[in-house]
């Protein structure tokens, strides 16, 4: 499964959104309805799935689906 698809799966499950809503440009809060509590748990989901640590500062920069994909790639995660 591609990195994009794995991330999309996590977002769909955590935010109870439809897969087709999870586009590259979708904003996690404004478009996908995440509140601050969802964001904390979403970061934990990503940390658990990809076995990495996301600092609060890093987490705050992750606003869109695309930014999550790009961030994970900078951490050397490809799939």
């Amino acid at each position: 499964m591609s990195l994009e698809n794995r991330i999309a799966e996590i977002i769909v499950s955590r935010l109870n959104v439809k897969p087709e809503e999870v586009t590259d440009s979708a904003n996690l809060k404004d478009d996908l309805g995440a509140d601050s509590l969802d964001m904390v748990d979403l970061m934990m989901d990503l940390e658990d799935t990809f076995n990495l640590k996301i600092s609060d500062e890093e987490g705050n920069t992750l606003q869109t689906v695309g930014s999550v994909v790009a961030f994970l790639k900078t951490k050397g995660i490809e799939a």
């Binding site: 109870n16 309805g33 601050s36 509590l37 904390v40 748990d41 934990m44 658990d48």
Partner: protein
């Protein structure tokens, strides 16, 4: 005391005996038990292996997937029951200002399942893995908060926590809120989801639960019977819509019954055992009658707390005798826990709902499982089958660990008679 009067105009329920008011009423009246072998946990772990479970409830379907995920089971129950009650009341934002609608919902514990799940995560993987939703899902006031969001109810809002009297205190406080003019409509009752490892295990350790009918669950909850050995743990929610009488009549609401009086007291005796002779319970009953302008002779029906524990049933029997005097020999007494089990923080609301329907329908639900009354249990407990009776006034008792006693006085709505 204000001259306002408070009536019930909406009912909603999720319970072991049904997920609609009509189903729960039919089963209570017909003595159809909702108690079965525990199926959501391994029953072999416990000395008491029976429970009253809510069946056929898919929160993602009844609510929505996101509400289901972000709320503990106890809050899911409360939301589902509150939606039913609100719909049943026929109220809408056109007929009531949201700022005049309050919510008070009791729970003995709140989100126990959430607490246990997250505690396990914290022990296994450290406290940094505790979900951000842990606190909001666990806290025992979140049912009241979520129901308010759901119904856009912007008036007084809080939770009551008095163990098995929680929802009766919620209803009592809601009656007060209407009398004091703080709201015209109150959405109130209780919710509990205690079929969890720690709750069932904890009550087993107290030796409070029935352990002698593991192979015959439907007979396990047997209030006032000589073979009773403890209560049957149960889950669910019951929500009532209370409304100021004139407001309800002006909009042509379907009025189920009047909540005519409230009594409350404390044993100040022991953390779990009732005071000798049920004197605290008796004082609550007397206070409720006085508040309602009733005399003992007016009371036709007592919906007893009747838990099926040795101590409760004998002491509550004494309390009824103390409060009603010689009239205790004539009054009808029943415990509907014989069918739905002990829904803890939701049980008072459940029983007040059934009492209101008993008044409306002129039919007293039975103590369905009672075969041979135990020593000292010598009132008319309406054993086995429901009884038709033109009852006008009822008392519903709820007693909680901590010595908390509540008695709610109900009166048949005169528009019905």
């Amino acid at each position: 005391m204000s001259d306002k009067r408070v009536v019930i105009t909406g009912l909603g329920v999720l319970s072991p005996i049904g997920n609609t008011t009509s189903e729960a009423w039919e089963n209570a009246v017909n003595g159809k038990s909702g108690v079965s072998r525990i199926s959501t946990l391994d029953p072999e772990l416990f000395t008491s292996q029976v429970a009253g479970m809510v069946k056929d409830f898919d929160p993602a379907e009844v609510l929505d997937p996101k509400s289901a995920r972000r709320n503990d089971r106890y809050t899911q129950f409360a939301m589902a029951a509150a939606r039913q009650a609100w719909a049943d009341s026929g109220l809408s934002e056109e007929s009531i200002d949201p700022e005049r609608v309050g919510v008070i919902i009791g729970s003995g514990v709140g989100g126990m399942e959430t607490f246990e799940t997250q505690h396990t995560i914290a022990m296994d993987r450290g406290p940094r893995r505790i979900s951000s939703m842990f606190v909001p899902m666990m806290i025992s006031n979140m049912a009241a908060g979520q129901v308010a969001i759901d119904l856009n109810a912007k008036g007084p809002n809080f939770a009551t926590v008095t163990a098995c009297a929680s929802s009766s205190h919620a209803i009592a406080s809601s009656v007060d809120a209407i009398h004091l003019g703080r709201a015209e409509v109150m959405v109130t009752g209780g919710s509990e989801a205690p079929i969890t490892l720690m709750s069932v295990g904890g009550f087993c350790s107290m030796k409070a639960l029935c352990t002698t009918f593991n192979d015959d669950p439907e007979k396990a909850s047997r209030p006032f019977d000589k073979d009773r050995s403890g209560f049957v743990i149960a889950e669910g929610a019951c929500i009532l819509v209370l409304e100021e009488l004139e407001h309800a009549e002006a909009r042509g609401a379907d009025i189920i019954a009047e909540i005519a009086g409230v009594g409350m007291s404390c044993d100040a005796h022991h953390i779990t055992a009732p005071a000798p002779g049920g004197e605290g319970c008796a004082r609550a009953m007397t206070m409720a009658m006085k508040d309602a302008g009733m005399t003992p002779g007016d009371v036709d029906y007592v919906n007893a707390h009747g838990t099926s524990t040795i101590l409760n049933d004998i002491n509550e029997t004494s309390a009824i005798k103390a409060a009603l005097g010689s009239h205790a020999d004539e009054v009808l007494v029943s415990s509907t826990k014989s069918t739905h089990g002990h829904m803890l923080g939701a049980t008072g609301a459940m029983e007040i709902m059934l009492s209101s329907l008993a008044l409306k329908n002129g039919l007293v639900p039975p103590t369905s499982t009672l075969e041979t009354p135990g020593e000292g249990c010598d009132l008319d407990y309406v054993p086995g089958t429901a009884r038709k009776a033109n009852i006008q006034c009822a008392l519903s008792n709820s007693l909680g660990f901590g010595g908390h006693n509540v008695s709610i006085a109900l009166r048949k709505y005169k528009g019905d008679s």
